[in-house]
Symmetry: C2
Subunit: 329 residues, 2 copies
């Protein structure tokens, strides 16, 4: 039986949406239990009567912007309590749709890094051009700068994630850079490239440019957090801009609207291909416990998937495997 701690507060859409996801997930998975942290007065009407769900009353919410030290003072918040449940081993995983900064600070401070991990990294699975194939990219924002050694650690963790959770047998691993050739990029990237070659890192396939990371052939891409965050948000922003333009194109006139009626089945496929909600958010890899951060605006489908990622990570014992990863395999 896996027990998952859920921070029910701090999401953009409120605990109602998250409750729906928890209820649906509990109905579909009888072997998963939930400990839901939040305002009991709001949660009770939403979740009472479910045997798999325990509500834990908390007094405050972590705001969107919070400094690490301020997080530590919010011991009565739903997010603090949820992470604490993983630290105290009463739960195996924590899922939150609250403040990303708060979650990273909290999970890093309360759970601490797995021995051997130089830095924890926020890991996102991007939808790619190949339906059903994701690109695992880390770090996308837990850090600003990272050393070559951090990148090596990200690669080991990202590779484990791609194998154990996404089921990619022999993941190809890349360093994000501004050119394909060895020697391109910042000093850390150049140094990381040599390190990967030196160690004969399994699946290492050289540099990747941001242009090609979504082509479906890049299983794992490692990058310092600042550049990774730019990559993540540039892809999201461009996709959202183009989705708006597609809508606008179909809404242009009565005739183009008729076009949509005919073309809609193709565009539904496209929507499915680009469905980032399928991957349920970002994962903080490298801390002692499964920590999944759902998008702040997750609907119940996206939050359901975030819970599913947490369960699959717990079942695959990825935290333990990261702890023993020195040998690569």
């Amino acid at each position: 039986m896996i027990e998952i701690a859920v921070d029910m507060m701090g999401s953009d859409l409120g605990p109602e949406t998250l409750s729906e996801a928890v209820k649906n997930y509990a109905a579909d998975h009888k072997d998963v239990a939930f400990r839901c942290f939040g305002d009991e007065k709001r949660l009770h009407p939403l979740l009472s009567g479910m045997s798999a769900v325990q509500i834990v009353d908390t007094q405050s919410i972590i705001p969107m912007e919070i400094k690490p030290l301020d997080f530590l003072r919010k011991k009565d918040s739903s997010m603090y309590k949820a992470i604490e449940a993983v630290r105290d081993k009463t739960c195996t995983a924590v899922v939150s749709a609250g403040s990303t900064g708060g979650f990273i600070s909290g999970a890093t401070i309360l759970l601490r890094n797995i021995p051997g991990v130089t830095r924890a990294g926020l890991c996102a699975a991007f939808p790619t051009f190949k339906k059903g194939k994701a690109a695992v990219i880390l770090d996308v924002g837990a850090n600003n700068v990272n050393t070559a050694e951090d990148l090596l650690c990200f690669a080991k963790m990202g590779r484990l994630y791609a194998r154990e959770v996404l089921g990619v047998e022999e993941p190809k691993v890349y360093t994000l850079s501004n050119g394909l050739e060895e020697g391109k990029g910042t000093d850390e990237i150049v140094k990381a490239y040599s390190l990967f070659k030196e160690q004969d890192f399994p699946g290492f396939a050289g540099n990747a440019e941001a242009r090609e990371v979504l082509d479906g052939d890049h299983d794992v891409v490692v990058t310092p957090g600042f550049a990774g965050n730019i990559l993540l948000k540039a892809c999201e922003g461009t996709a959202s801009l183009m989705n708006k333009l597609i809508k606008k194109a179909f809404m242009k006139s009565p005739i183009t609207k008729v076009g949509y009626l005919f073309a809609s089945s193709g565009f539904k496929d496209m929507k499915e291909s680009m469905d980032y909600k399928k991957y349920g958010g970002a994962i903080l890899l490298g801390v002692n416990g499964v920590a999944v951060k759902a998008h702040g605006n997750s609907d119940s489908y996206a939050f359901y998937n975030a819970i599913d990622v947490a369960r699959r990570m717990a079942e695959s014992h990825i935290v333990e495997k990261i702890g023993g990863m020195e040998s690569h395999d």
Copy 2:
């Protein structure tokens, strides 16, 4: 009379495509002359008999990947000669669709930085959600790392470009970061933010996230080159991926193909909005001369626009204005 030096070699599509652009441009603009550098045997049949075009025979081509010192040894190449013509003031501007690295090295070494410019920056105008509005982003790859002072210099040059060449009256200027609040980002970004505030930089509007730079409200966005290159290529890559998916959606079945017939006028508008070829490539700002780098795969329409950017830059005397920019205006 403006004379433009054109590197006719090194483009993916060959001198035939570039010649077409030169001929069309010369036909449309009687006040512009061209000095075309390349293999005379190939260029003569393409360009002979045009009074506005002078062919200069050159012996070699700069390869796609070249180290700065190797560039200096290629004195007989079309790119070297074309840049040299600007250095020697026989031409006002140089346009090339050849190696980006070679062009940046060559222009930086041969033209040198304008006094007061700490670093030259490669500047790209991105199409945005607002039709006809571009986002000017620099540096997108002339450098890897940049100091806060470089970013300030980029902002001054980018602002001049937006005003003088794109006609934006009061450009809003942003620093690219991983969060909107002051204090977010790497040390250089944080320092640059303070510097902009301290100097009361005209139009400075704080940090921008990669997600929003294409919304049409971000006139100028400054960033160190490595992060800027990731941004540029991530936007290009995602847009190209989505264009492929749109095509796939319409090609799915005979019915969706009918959909395209009805919707095509809307999608033509969309194509126009996203038309990066309109902006003709990237500009190296900060060197002593107008230096425009067209995409390697520019068709004649894109290369025509690159020439047009060069002419407008020359006419606006932006190089001289960058030289006198201490006062911001």
